[in-house]
């Protein structure tokens, strides 16, 4: 039987690039973009993307019951969160005057601030937009064949601060050291956009599509 991956579509942004990157990473996989719980349940793997403001994302997540779909998937199969999808997995975000998130991982989503500087005192622009180095905190099957310190494409004004060191798998530095990848058991999530990160991003998606959910 053909392996399948479902991309949860809760109306926040265009998911075609996520879908086409997954398809490119493994031409044999069946990719479904859907908000139908039956489709998510039937898939072998689940991708939880997200783009835009957290308040709007959480509103749609609640309206469509995405939290339950995600918890059910997390109980049984590999799950990959991307960008705001990763942020929504944490406890809370400072964005939009403070929004409660799903609390699947402990941690807070914080604003980079309007007065951000690098170590040399150079002012840093927000959003953090472009290719930055991701340091791998420890080995993980999704890091397979990706060099430590590889650049990935980021675009975000809020960053994750993972509260449990055991769940931190990657970090990045932009005026502040922030969490770029979190994981636990069969769940992995990244702040950057693998679907926009060329060779390294496609490699990570390929690794996800091969992953049995074991660390």
């Amino acid at each position: 039987m053909t392996a399948s991956v479902a991309v949860i579509d809760y109306g926040m942004g265009n998911l075609h690039s996520v879908a086409s990157a997954l398809q490119h990473a493994d031409p044999s996989v069946k990719v479904n973009v859907s908000a139908d719980p039956a489709v998510i349940r039937a898939a072998d793997r689940v991708v939880f993307p997200g783009v835009g403001a957290i308040r709007d994302c959480m509103a749609e997540i609640h309206r469509l019951g995405v939290g339950d779909m995600l918890r059910e998937a997390m109980a049984s199969k590999p799950v990959l969160g991307i960008c705001v999808g990763m942020q929504a997995m944490l406890d809370h975000s400072q964005e939009n005057d403070g929004v409660d998130c799903l609390g699947l991982f402990s941690g807070e989503v914080k604003f980079f601030g309007n007065d951000l500087h690098d170590a040399a005192g150079q002012r840093l622009k927000v959003p953090h937009m472009g290719w930055n180095n991701v340091q791998q905190d420890r080995a993980h099957p999704l890091w397979a064949n990706i060099p430590d310190g590889e650049r990935f494409y980021f675009v975000h004004s809020y960053y994750a601060d993972c509260a449990d060191e055991a769940h931190a798998f990657g970090n990045c530095d932009y005026g502040v050291k922030f969490t770029a990848a979190i994981g636990r058991d069969n769940v992995f999530a990244v702040q950057f956009h693998p679907e926009k990160s060329h060779t390294a991003g496609l490699r990570l998606l390929h690794n996800f599509l091969q992953w049995d959910g074991q660390i």
Partner: protein, 257 residues
């Protein structure tokens, strides 16, 4: 290592073909946009910008299909601009596979468009494009004004003030084309690039007038740009993206190799 400065090849597309004008005139054909985009993707470009300069409505239908085809094959960020007049145009381009949409003239006529688009889709995907020309006379304090219609129509708007306002309205990035130089290959106008880079909290892409690799370095070092955009030096094979990155790295600019 810090965030890399981005190298962005730009495809000016008219009726389904990549073209490049000198001072927005004198168009030369540079090929099929899907092929050209794929080539830059393979060369290690950090993003691709697609500017639709087609006037006709039929031509714009073609553009949506072209953007769809590029998005299926190119796994780096894609910005699409040209002819974006309302929120629905932004939606159509994002749905076609654009990661960011660039708004130019329409923002001048109705600045609220930028606010509406940023509220609806997020600042991260809204780029405001500014075409600026120096209007101060020699000896006067530098002043740059925004021009429309390929540099023919002055708007009376101060370019630096406008950039600040657009950032406040929710733009996530400024694409600054310094028009005196466009296509003439004498380099970016570093004065306006520096003035706007210093004035806004969001990233600035320098554009217009790149004739050699030193101009790219100048845009970052002298102009303070976060990204540099160029078209014809890449299209006609004068330089490749890896050559540009190597050159910049040798001069101390952080790039993704």
């Amino acid at each position: 290592m810090p965030l890399a400065k981005r190298i962005i090849p730009c495809l000016d597309v008219e009726n389904g073909r990549v073209v490049k004008g000198v001072k927005f005139l004198d168009i030369r054909d540079a090929g099929d946009p899907v092929e050209v985009a794929r080539r830059y993707n393979e060369q290690g470009a950090d993003e691709i910008t697609f500017l639709d300069i087609t006037a006709s409505h039929e031509g714009r239908e073609t553009t949506v299909h072209t953007v769809e085809k590029i998005a299926e094959q190119v796994f780096i960020p894609l910005t699409v601009g040209g002819g974006i007049r309302e929120v629905n145009d932004v939606r159509v381009m994002l749905n076609a596979g654009a990661d960011k949409v660039s708004i130019n003239t329409a923002a001048i006529f109705r600045p609220e468009l930028v606010r509406e688009a940023a509220d609806r889709f997020g600042s991260q995907c809204i780029v405001v494009a500014i075409d600026a020309k120096k209007v101060s006379l020699p000896g006067e304090l530098d002043r740059w004004e925004i021009f429309t219609h390929g540099g023919r129509k002055p708007t009376g708007l101060d370019a630096v003030e406008w950039a600040v306002k657009m950032a406040q309205f929710g733009a996530g990035e400024i694409l600054l084309t310094s028009m005196d130089q466009d296509g003439v290959k004498s380099g970016y106008d570093l004065g306006v690039t520096r003035a706007i880079s210093d004035a806004v909290p969001i990233p600035v892409i320098a554009s217009g007038g790149v004739g050699n690799l030193q101009h790219l370095v100048d845009g970052v070092v002298g102009g303070g740009a976060d990204a540099v955009l160029a078209a014809s030096i890449f299209h006609f094979g004068e330089y490749s993206v890896p050559q540009a990155k190597q050159y910049m790295r040798e001069r101390g600019v952080e790039v993704r190799l």
